[in-house]
Amino acid sequence: MKQTKNITPTNMVCICCPLGCSLTIIKSDNEWLVTGNKCLRGKKYAAEEMTAPKRVVTSTVKIAGGLYPMIPVKTEQPIPKEKIFTIMNILASVRAVAPITMGDIVIKNVADTGVNVVATKTDKGMPF
């Protein structure tokens, strides 16, 4: 493949799994050339990180009638990094109600990302 000269390669660490491969990325014409990735997810991550970085948000929301006052949640898919705090603000205003099952949708299409926020724990409510 042809490599464009005088473009410095970018180094980054893949965060898709705990292996944390060190990636090197070079822009070639209209493609990202990635090396150092041990799997294909690393290539996808590098290209995304160069153009539109995304993250999975894990947090908590208040729950009424739950075993504890909070229930853990996550975005089902990674969302654009710049929307993290918008989503955190939305989560702060939401209240779930027990009983809730792991995987239940807490917020649909959060902040117009097309991604749902789901519960990551089952809470059947106070047993006593």
């Binding site: 980054m12 965060i15 799994c17 705990p18 944390g20 894990t58 947090s59 504890y68 955190m88 089952t122």
Partner: protein, 404 residues
């Protein structure tokens, strides 16, 4: 839970899990970030998702669960003294017992930071529980001491919840956390990681008002000339974990000074007949997947013991030689092994371009080469039963050697 499930699979009828909290799952329930289960479930889960999946497996069995119950003491005669609000004080007798109490966090006392005693100094895991389970934010302006994964994860968590994390300090010249956590927990939020630096004093009368930080020299002693004040209202300490062995002590179980956990054999049998131990009470693990694996071993051991299919003598010992800080298990009986034996260990320091060799006598039976071995990363070896039987040597010696 993993031990209970393994015992159940090995046809044990009466199994009871005693849990101090209001629900099963332990520390996983407050670890709401993802990164769990890649080995065990082959997908990346959050802590509560991992524990929920195991709880579902428990619920499919007749394993009994007693929550909100505190074990006060384990007698030398294997009597469990426990208490809860439904039954009051109880004495429970079991044929076999598996200890899985986990670990505790090291506190300010353990690392002796000077200064006053204001409110606002928390162990990072305690702060994690306050935020993720109880829904309280312990402070607004935070300095974190210790850059292990818990410290890094809490830096992001506090930031997401609206606090300002001024810095994460690390006394060593490198972070003990995963690189991915430095990227997604610190870099993403422009939180500085300051290496070779520690807190020398905590200021504040009622509430923390700030900390004095200083660089350290090669002996890790603070350099006074580099002292600097950072205003903050909260200090989170992420300075290590210690296996919680109060109950093991009361039962008179022999403890390994290096792991701070019980000395165990291949099926995690302790020095007391019929008592087994697994997970962080034995050795502080990096991955919950290996905790589950170790739990299953202990559960199998307990089942074999009850079924009178357990040989309590030992055939081999393991020796942590040059560069290795500890090995679990410390003792081995090959007769209880099916076909493979897994050794877990950590190195004492950073070793570059080295090889870890496992010797039986002067024969190398396993080895691992790496550009870098870090104390923060647990290392494991699979040994073949056949290799152990076919050799009259009884000492398994592990050491680090340079690559020649």
């Amino acid at each position: 839970m993993a031990a209970a499930l393994a015992a159940h699979q090995n046809h044990i009828k009466n199994i009871l899990i005693i849990e101090r909290d209001l629900e099963l799952g332990g520390i996983l329930n407050q670890c709401i970030h993802s990164g769990f289960g890649l080995h065990h479930f082959k997908k990346e889960l959050t802590g509560p998702e991992y524990s929920s999946l195991i709880i579902q497996e428990i619920q499919k069995t007749n394993i009994e669960v007693m929550i909100n119950t505190m074990v006060l003491k384990l007698g030398e005669d294997k009597t469990i003294h426990a208490i809860n609000s439904d039954h009051g004080y109880m004495k429970i007798n079991a044929k076999a017992i598996v200890l899985a109490m986990g670990c505790r966090e090291r506190t300010r006392g353990a690392i002796r930071i000077h200064g006053s005693r204001p409110a606002g100094v928390y162990a990072a895991g305690t702060a994690q529980r306050l935020v993720n389970i109880d829904g309280y934010l312990p402070g607004k302006r935070v300095v974190i001491l210790g850059s292990g994964d818990i410290g890094l994860i809490m830096a992001r968590r506090m930031t997401l919840e609206g606090a300002k994390v001024e810095a994460v300090l690390e006394i060593l010249p490198y972070s003990n956390g995963l690189t991915r956590n430095i990227v997604q927990c610190l870099n993403d939020f422009a939180i500085p990681l300051i290496l070779k630096t520690t807190i020398t004093k905590i200021h504040g009368a009622e509430r923390v008002e700030g900390v004095t930080i200083a660089q350290v020299d090669d002996q890790l002693s603070p350099i006074t000339a580099t002292e600097k004040f950072i205003p903050c209202d909260t200090v989170l300490l992420s300075v290590g974990l210690i296996p919680d062995n109060e109950i093991s002590h009361s039962a008179g179980i022999a403890i390994d000074q290096r792991t701070n956990g019980p000395i165990v054999g291949e099926l995690r049998q302790t020095s007391k007949d019929g008592i087994f131990a697994c997970g962080n009470v034995l050795q502080v693990h990096d991955l919950v997947d290996f905790v589950s694996e170790e739990g299953a071993l202990a559960g199998l051991g307990a089942a074999k013991y009850i079924n009178n299919d357990f040989d309590s003598s030992f055939t081999h010992t393991t020796i942590a030689d040059n560069g290795i800080s500890y090995i679990v298990p410390q003792k081995i009986n090959v007769k209880n092994i099916t076909d493979k034996l897994k050794l877990f260990m950590r190195v004492k320091n950073i070793f570059e371009n080295s090889i870890i060799n496992v010797y039986l006598g002067d024969k190398i039976i396993a080895s691992k080469k790496e550009h870098k071995f870090l104390p923060a990363e647990m290392i494991s070896f699979d040994l073949k039963k056949q290799d152990l039987i076919n050799n009259s040597e009884k000492q398994i010696i592990v050491k680090i050697e340079p690559i020649i």
